[in-house]
């Protein structure tokens, strides 16, 4: 692993300080104010516009959808004419009772631990940018990268419902159908992914400099 040397004499000279904007898409540098990247034609922004508002808006939408996702049934199981419903938590408890504890843990982690942790991390990062944070910028960066990486995996539960529905259609003997929670859960995952994508990690580092400047003054 090699670290590049900073371009300026001071360690923290950003592209913005130097009057430049870097394309987040292909990495080309252009003078600040250039509307589009010459190489890949993406719109250029030194900092993504209204990032804060978009992050909060998507996050709120994600949390709102997550509530019915847990209250409504995920699966409607019909065995010999008897319909039983299962929520996310209920399904995991059932798996525990079967003795399939490993799968139960996977389900709990993918559909409860990860979504809730993501809500908390994104909100925490935003508050950290605004008010400063006890965590180092590095640690916050790691949290952000982990959130971005792991977010899509919450979709597992939706796919499980899709496969069970497709597969278990044995008429009167057994059939499985999706419940309303599946849709809410999918929406929650998508909204949270959009929230994480709207976050501009450069805000973390800008806020460090701003807080440092405030202390100096």
């Amino acid at each position: 692993m090699d670290h590049m040397a900073p371009a300026g004499p001071e360690e923290t000279i950003t592209a913005r300080d130097a009057g430049l904007v870097s394309c987040t898409n292909c990495g080309t540098l252009a003078p600040l104010g250039t509307p589009r990247c010459a190489r890949c034609h993406a719109a250029l922004h030194s900092r993504s516009p209204n990032a804060g508002q978009r992050v909060w808006a998507w996050l709120l939408a994600g949390i709102v959808c997550y509530i019915p996702a847990n209250l409504y049934p995920m699966l409607l199981t019909n065995t010999f004419g008897k319909v039983s419903t299962g929520t996310i938590i209920g399904g995991a408890i059932e798996l525990f009772e079967y003795g399939a504890w490993f799968v139960a843990v996977v389900v709990i982690v993918a559909s409860v631990v990860i979504p809730v942790a993501k809500f908390m991390v994104i909100a925490g990062l935003m508050l950290g940018v605004r008010y400063g944070s006890r965590l180092s910028a590095h640690r916050r960066m790691q949290l952000y990268e982990a959130t971005e990486f792991i977010g899509r995996w919450s979709m597992i539960d939706v796919f499980v419902v899709a496969i069970l529905t497709a597969l278990v259609q044995l008429g009167f003997v057994a059939s499985i159908n999706p419940g309303p929670a599946a849709v809410c859960f999918a929406l929650s995952v998508v909204f949270t992914m959009l929230s994480a994508q709207s976050f501009d990690p450069r805000m973390i580092w800008d806020s460090l400099e701003e807080h440092a400047a405030r202390v100096r003054r």
Partner: protein, 212 residues
């Protein structure tokens, strides 16, 4: 906010970190190594061999596997003399009844449409480079689109979902796996392969019309 004049007029010799905006002198690391930002440790660029070859290989295999995955049977269930086959398309159509219908479109996009479109876009953008021709007219746009689609391409998540679903039903019925299941499983390997071989920065430089 401090404002300074550009340090160097030759912007080509500089690089800014995507995740913290730190301006750096661009150094190409030795072959096989990656260069990281000294402030936030984000990977700036990597000097990997055969970036184009490997990315193309991944995209072409994805396209072939997806065709197999869609047209071959995926999974079958037997219980009490009853038989049920399910293809990937049945899984996609699982939500097509009633008000969950929009979810069908989303599931179709995540596990079939986006992975296929991404593979086609990558082939379109990179194959001319591989053949030594000049980049196709919309090569930059299609490569950008392929990269933007990456988080939404969920074939590998789908296959893990299948594994969980299988464990749920194996107690109730006999399940057998079709060729399509294995095609999807192979996609996981390709995703991991792509994550370790693709360097966006290198490909962008190769796609740049000014350099050719």
């Amino acid at each position: 906010m401090r404002t300074r004049h550009p340090i160097s007029q030759n912007l080509d010799r500089l690089i800014a970190c995507r995740s913290c905006d730190l301006l750096l002198d661009r150094v190409i690391p030795p072959p096989g190594k990656v260069a990281r930002c000294p402030r936030c440790h984000h990977v700036l660029l990597s000097n990997k061999r055969n970036v184009i070859d490997n990315t193309l290989a991944g995209a072409i295999s994805t396209a072939i596997l997806m065709v197999a995955a869609i047209f071959f049977p995926f999974i079958a269930l037997d219980e009490a003399g009853l038989h049920r086959d399910a293809s990937v398309m049945d899984a996609v159509g699982a939500f097509s009844d009633g008000w969950s219908a929009p979810l069908t479109i989303a599931v179709a996009a995540f596990i079939v449409v986006i992975p296929v479109t991404r593979a086609v876009a990558l082939i379109y953008a990179l194959l001319p480079l591989r053949l030594g021709m000049k980049p196709a007219r919309n090569a930059a746009r299609s490569f950008r689109m392929a990269m933007a689609m990456k988080p939404w391409s969920m074939a590998e998540i789908f296959i893990v979902g299948v594994a969980v679903a299988l464990i749920k039903v194996t107690d109730l019925a006999t399940v057998s796996l079709g060729p399509s299941f294995w095609a999807f499983s192979a996609l996981i390997v390709i995703v991991v392969f792509e994550n370790t071989t693709l360097c966006e920065w290198t490909i962008w430089r190769l796609l740049d019309p000014k350099r050719r």
